[in-house]
């Protein structure tokens, strides 16, 4: 099988690969609710321009994505789709949970139809607080994620573990 | 295959001749294999893919024979257009993914028999008729201009007829495929 799992990859190469993952993150556009607009602003507004960071907001299909940002309310009806689309992304993949709704249910913590946090469905790498977080807060989350990817332990990740900083 | 070709093509003319033969052999084998797959594979789209191989092989053979223009035409019309037409046709007829249901007909044995017999007859005829006659060594690639001169000279009538034929085919096909 792969070189990475067997741990045969030399260290410099690992960090090179980490760096390239760090600077090339294709983000899957999936807006769920209000936060999606702020995500859209972060991705689409010239003022924030996430492309500067190497985050490319091109793919509309999970198959080409590295990062998915769950921005908004996760409802029980949506959960299967979220899980499936997350599954359909190719490894290595990262998840940002944006906004109180995705973190914890937020304003709808007591609602009958809202899931209390996207982390009950998929593993989350970075939580961005806010309701909605301003676009720069999302950028901060992305920068944080990039820092962590840069130092990430590939072996763990290749096994499908959540992001581990070595 | 390229290695052999390249090695052979390095020197003077005569080895090129050998290289041509080698190339012919390889391409021919590929063509025959693909042709067989065309008529045996269960999946129609695969059959089309194999057909592409046969057609490309034929184009390569044309190149070997110095008929550049025909070869490019083969690529353009057959691969670029006719196969696309086939693919559209296949998709229009709901090509089943694994087309077991569309395998052989009952008379496939008869078909096999016919073609084997036919093959025997043909081979006999060919060997008998052309023996070891060779394609001239100093074969020159045909220039497009010559083809053109021939079309617009000797075969002018045929050329115009082709246009009529194409028109007729287009009209016919539109009539047939348009239900209302």
């Amino acid at each position: 099988m792969g070189l990475v799992e067997s741990g045969k990859l030399p260290k410099p190469l690992t960090s090179l690969l980490n760096t390239s993952r760090k600077y090339s993150i294709w983000i899957f556009q999936w807006g769920l609710a209000c936060c999606a607009i702020e995500m859209g602003a972060a991705l689409g507004s010239p003022r924030y321009d996430v492309m500067r960071l190497g985050v490319i907001p091109l793919p509309a299909s999970p198959r080409q994505a590295d990062l998915v940002c769950f921005s908004g309310t996760v409802t029980d009806k949506m959960v299967p789709a979220i899980r499936r689309l997350y599954d359909q992304m190719p490894d290595p993949k990262y998840v940002i949970s944006m906004g109180s709704c995705a973190n914890c249910g937020g304003p709808y913590w007591d609602s009958y139809s809202v899931t209390k946090g996207v982390d009950q469905v998929v593993p989350v790498d970075v939580y961005v607080p806010g309701c909605p977080p301003r676009p720069e807060a999302l950028l901060e989350g992305i920068v944080l994620l990039q820092q962590r990817i840069g130092k990430e332990d590939m072996v763990e990740r290749w096994k499908g573990e959540p992001l581990v900083v070595s | 295959m390229i290695a052999v070709l390249a090695a052979a093509a390095q020197n003077a003319d005569a080895p090129v001749y050998v290289a041509q033969n080698v190339a012919f052999g390889i391409i021919a084998a590929l063509m025959v294999f693909s042709a067989i797959r065309v008529v045996t594979t269960a999946n129609v789209v695969h059959a089309a893919a194999y057909l592409v191989m046969v057609l490309a092989g034929a184009a390569a053979q044309f190149i070997l024979l110095g008929a550049e223009f025909v070869a490019i035409t083969q690529v353009m019309v057959y691969i670029g257009a006719v196969v696309v037409l086939f693919l559209f046709g296949i998709m229009l007829t709901k090509a089943p993914m694994r087309g077991e249901e569309f395998a052989r007909r009952d008379q496939w044995l008869a078909g096999l028999f016919t073609s084997v017999v036919l093959f025997g007859v043909l081979i006999y005829g060919l060997l008998d008729g052309f023996g070891r006659s060779k394609i001239p060594q100093d074969l020159q690639p045909t220039l497009t201009g010559e083809v053109s001169d021939s079309i617009f000279g000797t075969y002018l009538l045929a050329f115009e007829a082709i246009s009529l034929l194409l028109l007729a085919a287009a009209v016919g096909a539109i009539v047939v495929s348009k239900r209302d």
């Binding site: 090179l16 690969l17 760096t19 390239s20 993952r21 760090k22 600077y23 090339s24 993150i25 010239p46 003022r47 321009d49 492309m51 500067r52 960071l53 190497g54 490319i56 793919p59 509309a60 299909s61 198959r63 080409q64 590295d66 359909q88 190719p90 490894d91 290595p92 | 390249a6 093509a9 390095q10 999946n43 789209v45 695969h46 893919a49 592409v52 550049e68 223009f69 490019i72 035409t73 690529v75 353009m76 691969i79 670029g80 257009a81 196969v83 696309v84 693919l87 559209f88 998709m91 993914m97 690639p141 220039l143 497009t144």
Partner: protein
Amino acid sequence: MSADILALSWDSLDNLWAQSALKSVGILAAVLLPAGTFVYLFLFKMVSFMQSRLGPMETGPYGSLQLLAEVGKFLQKEDIIPERADRLLFKAAPYLVVSTVLLVYIVVPFGPDMTFISGAMTGGIFFAVAIASVSTLGVIVAGWASANKYSLMGGLRAGGQLVAYELPLILAVVGVVIQAGTMDMQQIVHAQAGGSIFGVDLIGNPYVLTQFLGFIIFMIAVQAELAQTPFDMPIAESELVTGYMTEYTGLRFLLFFIGEFASAGAFAALGATLFLGGWAVPAAWTDLNNNLFNLLGPIIMVAKMCILGGLIFFVRFTFPRLREDQLQKFAWVILIPLSLANILATTILKVAF
């Protein structure tokens, strides 16, 4: 690579292996460089500036290493083949698309001696359009093999569109062939450099002037062949996700991606050669067979390609997209008759003068 050295030693290099190796390196450079340049220069930077933002900035100075990061990333992406897909064709389709693009470059001259072929292959532009038409197959097959509805519809749309716009493309080229009287690209370049307009040969005769209609038709058709907006129905992301590429992941997707931009480069190269005078400058200025042009030629060529490429992406990010039926109608009702008329006009002028 230094074209100078290459050119000097070209004849003495009788060793086929060395030649082939050099040519292979050359073609890779010819394909990947324009593709990379186009992606970085146009997709990342020019478009960003058009949208009053900056594009990649963090990866290397001004984001110049972004492309390397992309490749490195895609190398590590998992390769998913959907279980319902047709594995064989699913895998084969990207090869088909990319390699046909590669072959188009063969006939493009980059200098008086900077060609991949000798003059014996006379197919020239005819060869190029024939090969380019094969990539249609790749797209349709990719759409079909993914067993996905978006892909299938995207593939079909792409097929329908590519065939519809191939005709105006080819017919626009015919005008040039009539004017030059040859299909060989090198000779077309020389014909333009050495030509004259109304007896004035100061600027040669770049066919963009005499074949302006042809040029416009050619560029429109190229836009459609590349499936760029306003003709990007096959990958219309607001309807079909990413069309025929929807199911492709990782490297295979990257191949399509490279293929897209490499073919943008290829068509830009064809356009530059056919209409802008290729690697040459007007012959009145200098002696074209000067060895210098083996060095300058590629540079001039790339510059001209960038002009056309810039135009392509400029249009792409300005316009909305047409609907599939409008697109077909445009091709059949306007472009093809127009290009036929262009041929006839060129014929009459050619014969009359």
